[in-house]
């Protein structure tokens, strides 16, 4: 059960009523304008109440909202896209969509984690949980981009890497490590957009980038709140508490220097106005690529190294709490 979906129900009902009243007002000689205004004010009030200051736990549910735009929704808004398949060895993983694309005319390699938009697609795409073959496809496409001097854009949206037996048998660890290595070594700009759930190492495998963009209500976390609660307290039911502690919101991560820019969402979340939100996100990604493309490969790699080199927070004998942004 998704918290946001539940809370939206009343709002959607109210929205419908307002539409009906507007239609009635337009077709019949009754002036309902003050009643409509009152309902609209009520609507805005509830909306502010729900979405004005969402808790971390609410954002977790927003990030998982079944109508939240997925990677394919962004990729389909590119000027052009041709999908490339497979790891060249074992399987084409449908949880990864990747290929050549054009972003406002800019030639790129686009790669996204794809969950399903309905039950059938979720089964096909393994709920967006990537298998080793998927990560190997990602690494291959990153290397293709580097070979052809095409920048790489990734869309991150996954609960986490697939935790199944078969994935362990086919070296999930090695596959994720290969992705990280491909991204570290890529001699082209890399920009990542965290568009939904950024779940653990399975998300990071696509998000080690020169510039990381994150949607306002997306989450990006060392573990799912449920997983964290299970690990620390042996009780997945304490997920809400874990969510609050994990600092998994875009604001938190901007503060840590892990996220470089936050893309504001329409009130009610990305799915309430996908077209505007997607256009806005793609513009932010494109602007980042424009800046990065001005750098030499050596500058790019050096800046990428420094960016990740300094992420951390520790004390030392002589210094106190040297944080990432210091």
């Amino acid at each position: 059960m998704n918290l946001i979906v539940e809370r939206e129900k009343g709002l959607l009902e109210l929205e419908k009523r307002i539409h009906e009243l507007r239609a009635m007002s337009a077709n019949q000689p009754i002036d309902l304008s003050s009643e409509i205004r009152a309902l609209e004010a009520k609507y805005a009030e509830i909306q502010r109440d729900i979405f004005g200051s969402m808790s971390a736990w609410q954002k977790v549910h927003m990030a998982r909202h079944p109508s939240r735009p997925t990677s394919l929704d962004y990729i389909s808004q590119l000027t052009a896209f041709d999908e490339l398949h497979g790891d060249r060895q074992f399987r084409d993983d449908p949880a990864i969509i990747g290929g050549f694309g054009k972003l406002f005319g800019r030639r790129i390699i686009a790669i996204g984690q794809q969950r399903g938009r309905d039950t059938k697609e979720n089964l096909l795409r393994n709920f967006g949980m990537v298998t080793p073959e998927g990560y190997r496809k990602v690494a291959r496409l990153i290397e293709l981009g580097a070979h052809l001097a095409l920048p790489v854009v990734t869309f991150v949206d996954t609960k986490g890497a697939d935790p199944g037996i078969a994935s362990e048998e086919r070296a999930q660890s090695e596959a994720i490590a290969s992705c990280l290595m491909a991204l570290v070594d890529a001699r082209v700009p890399v920009v990542s957009a965290i568009i939904g759930e950024g779940g653990s190492g399975g998300a990071l495998a696509l998000a080690l980038a020169d510039y990381v963009v994150m949607l306002e209500h997306s989450t990006y976390s060392v573990a799912s709140p449920e997983g964290c609660a299970a690990i620390l307290w042996g009780d997945a039911g304490k997920a809400e508490e874990a969510a609050a502690r994990l600092k998994l919101t875009s604001e938190d991560l901007r503060g840590f220097g892990i996220v470089d820019e936050i893309v504001p969402e329409p009130i009610g979340g990305a799915h309430r106005d996908p077209a505007t939100l997607i256009e806005r996100t793609l513009r932010v990604v494109d602007a980042a690529l424009a800046r990065l493309s001005g750098e030499s490969v050596e500058e790019l790699l050096e800046a990428r190294y420094r960016k990740y080199r300094r992420i951390g927070a520790w004390q030392s004998d002589t210094m106190n709490a040297v944080t990432a942004r210091a």
């Binding site: 935790p163 037996i165 086919r170 999930q172 508490e241 998994l248």
Partner: protein, 291 residues
């Protein structure tokens, strides 16, 4: 006990854990005299069970004589202001007490079979060997030092994954260590990991599997997802040998499985193959810290 180790431990340091002189083998039930067990590489003389090893015992078992620690002054803070039943500071303090370690990894310079090496050893006794920002920073310092000094690098892993209490800052250590490994590798260094029980999660999915040669200690459990997570997902029991070093060898993930007693000679041979006469072996010295 080498001089550096007794200095580190204090000559009257109590035995780890509970101070008892005897311990019971969890596999065969044999009651073992701790001193005998230590002399036998912490391997049960009856059934071959490999006890988890303290980082300094591991180092002492591996190096020729000296060990010079680096990064030891990098110490954990509480970047998320984490607190649950106890504050994160309290947890760290308790683990410091229990493990006699300041964090989950010990890094430094040593010689091994005459080869100067950069050596990192993780310890499961400190927060389950989880990787937080201090583990990441210490290892990064080690990889950078290995690159700058053209030293081969060996890391013993033991980890339950990323450290929850440091949130995303912990996860990013996968990126940070990978970046440092890449620089070291692109400079031509030899990098070898020894996966010990257990090696999982973020450590497994980053530097552990980025080495030129990957050795695993016999019967170590190694994987990305934890056994419990998988069992919950598939709702059935996993086979006994699943995710063991021997299973991974068959599946082609690792280069070799080695019994603990054989780890030092094996590493000596690997260094000899990889480096040969490129490096001075005779009278090899531990590099000085500020050289």
């Amino acid at each position: 006990m080498p001089e550096w180790l007794s200095r580190r431990r204090g000559s009257s340091a109590p035995p780890p854990d509970d101070g008892a002189l005897w311990t019971k083998c969890p596999k065969c039930g044999e009651v073992l005299y701790r001193k005998d067990l230590a002399a036998n590489y912490s391997v049960c003389p009856r059934c071959g069970y490999h006890f988890r090893m303290h980082a300094f015992d591991r180092i002492s078992m591996i190096v020729d004589s000296d060990f010079v620690e680096i990064g030891g002054s990098v110490l954990p803070g509480n970047p998320l202001g984490w607190s649950d039943k106890r504050s994160y500071e309290q947890k760290l303090s308790a683990d410091r007490e229990k493990s006699q370690l300041t964090e989950g990894v010990v890094c430094g310079f040593a010689t091994l079979s005459g080869f100067p090496v950069a050596l990192g050893v993780m310890d499961f006794n400190f927060r389950g060997g989880t990787m937080g920002t201090v583990v990441g920073e210490r290892l990064t310092l080690l990889f950078e030092a290995a690159r700058d000094r053209r030293l081969p690098c060996i890391v013993f892993t033991a980890s339950g994954g990323a450290r929850m209490e440091e949130g995303m800052l912990a996860l990013m250590q996968m990126a940070k260590t990978t970046a440092a490994v890449a620089r070291m590798r692109n400079a031509g260094n030899f990098f070898c990991t020894v996966l010990t029980d257990p090696t999982t999660g973020g450590v497994s999915a980053s530097f552990a599997f980025e080495a030129d040669v990957i050795v695993a200690e016999a019967r170590a459990v190694i994987g990305f997802a934890g056994r419990r997570v998988i069992e919950q997902t598939i709702r059935q029991k996993l086979p006994e040998n699943f995710q063991t070093a021997e299973f991974l060898l068959e599946k082609g993930h690792i280069d070799m499985v080695v019994e603990r007693q054989e780890i030092k000679p094996t590493l000596g041979r690997l260094l000899d193959y990889a480096l040969g006469d490129k490096h001075e072996r005779v009278d090899a010295k531990v590099p000085e810290l500020n050289a």
